[in-house]
Amino acid sequence: MSPISRRKLLTGGVVAAAGVAGLAAADRMARRFGLIPPDGGGIYGPGETLTYAAQRVLGKHALAREFPRGMISKTPFMNEVAPHNDEFKRHEAMGFRDWTLTVDGMVAHPLTLSVPELRALATQSQITEVVCEEGWSYVAEWIGTPVEAVLREAGTLPQVRYIVYTAMEKDGWDSLDMADALHPQTLLTWGMNDGDLPVGFGGPLRMRVPRQLGYKSVKYVMRLTATDSMKGIGRGLGSVAAEGGYAWYSGI
């Protein structure tokens, strides 16, 4: 057995020290620039933080792929929907006439908008792919109002870092950072393939976040809440999905 040489020991020590110092510096930088996701703690925290930070540094403003009209799936898959509660059924029976979106939290002018009012505010469409974490996908045209337009109307305060969106069904909520909330393809969707958005696909109002996996596109949205921190909202992990063990940031 040859003893470990002094040179090796020295090199190893320098490498280890540089590594620790580098990690500490990276952590400070990540915190300063908001590159740590709400679920960035625990054993999977480093991986999640690397992924989220890399995406935000690489392509904060990149656009999700859009497809020609001919690629719209003839057989989209609506995925299972839990049985609706009585309140939802009442809305459905009335043709969702009274469905509203409430915008509150850290905004200058809290709002409540009906779907026609949303349409009047701004309308945009995109042909993008819904990508499920399970592996399946389909392409559809999504017509809606950019979240950015709604937030501009409400006037988000400068310290806002996340937009929480809440579904009618209990426990259905998620959140976006401002890069995704203000992204031009992030839509509050009320139309699909030239028609109204069917209930199975999230009608009357669904969040569409095409740069992330399908579970981020929460169905039956009723509320947007602007906040500067996810602490104190649920368990502070940023979404119901994250509380159930699924990553908050699903842009991978």
Partner: protein, 241 residues
């Protein structure tokens, strides 16, 4: 196996520290990736070609196993428990470990001449006969105990420079965020579902490599060879029989 070779005086380690450290980091990352990847397949054991694919569409092929989702028609009357949450977290964390390890290994491998000296088949070895002799288990020369034969070299180079880059590429092509930044990554593969199917096949090839690799260790002295990869020191040849 050939007759026992007398133990040469160890002057340099069998495997450099770089190779040993990156090897074991890759082992950890790859096992995590393979296990979680297999788990993720269970949530949709159907594969498609092209951009889109779902249960309303005809699959390219189906793996006939039960699924962890009741929306997938499998023919089984039950649904497996959902393990996708932690599997996904671990898959991507392990992918970072694999990629970062691969970057260090790749740069250092060229820098130190590891690829050129240890893995590139020697000029005279790039013949059908040399490959045949190596496959038959005959060592190319007396140096064979301290270096890889031509088949090993070729396979290792293929894993390092073809399969690993491909599995990372096809995996990144499944990231909607990454696709937004670099759409050609998925487009050149023929679409998202093609990328997923290719990711599955390349992963399968890597698992086949792992199985063969471990079988070869078992045939040639598992603990002695594993010890070499841990300490870098050659264990007396006679122990290998």
């Amino acid at each position: 196996m050939a007759t026992a070779v007398s133990q040469p005086k160890v002057t340099t380690p069998r495997h450099s520290a770089l190779v040993r450290v990156t090897h074991w980091l890759t082992v950890v990352a790859f096992l995590a990736l393979a296990i979680t990847g297999g788990e993720l397949v269970i949530s949709h054991p159907r594969f498609y070609w092209g951009e889109t694919g779902n249960v309303n569409m005809k699959p390219l092929f189906t793996i006939h196993i039960p699924s962890s989702r009741d929306t997938v028609p499998t023919g089984y009357g039950y649904v497996m428990p959902d393990q996708n949450g932690w599997s996904r977290y671990l898959h991507f964390e392990a992918a970072w470990l694999a990629v970062l390890t691969g970057v260090v290994y790749g740069i250092a491998g060229f820098w130190t001449g590891h690829f050129r000296k240890d893995l590139r088949p020697a000029r005279g070895e790039r013949t059908g006969g040399a490959y045949w002799r190596a496959l038959r288990g005959m060592r190319p020369d007396e140096a064979g105990t301290r270096s890889y034969n031509v088949v090993q070299r070729t396979v290792y180079l293929g894993v390092i420079f073809v399969l690993f880059p491909l599995v990372i590429w096809t995996g990144l092509a499944l990231s909607p965020g990454f696709n937004a930044v670099f759409p050609f990554f998925v487009d050149v593969l023929g679409g998202r579902q093609s990328a997923r199917t290719l990711h599955f096949f390349v992963s399968d090839l890597l698992v086949v490599f792992l199985v063969v690799h471990v079988v070869m260790l078992l045939l040639n002295g598992f603990w002695a060879l594993t010890w070499e990869m841990i300490t870098g020191r050659v264990v007396a040849r006679k122990e290998r029989g």
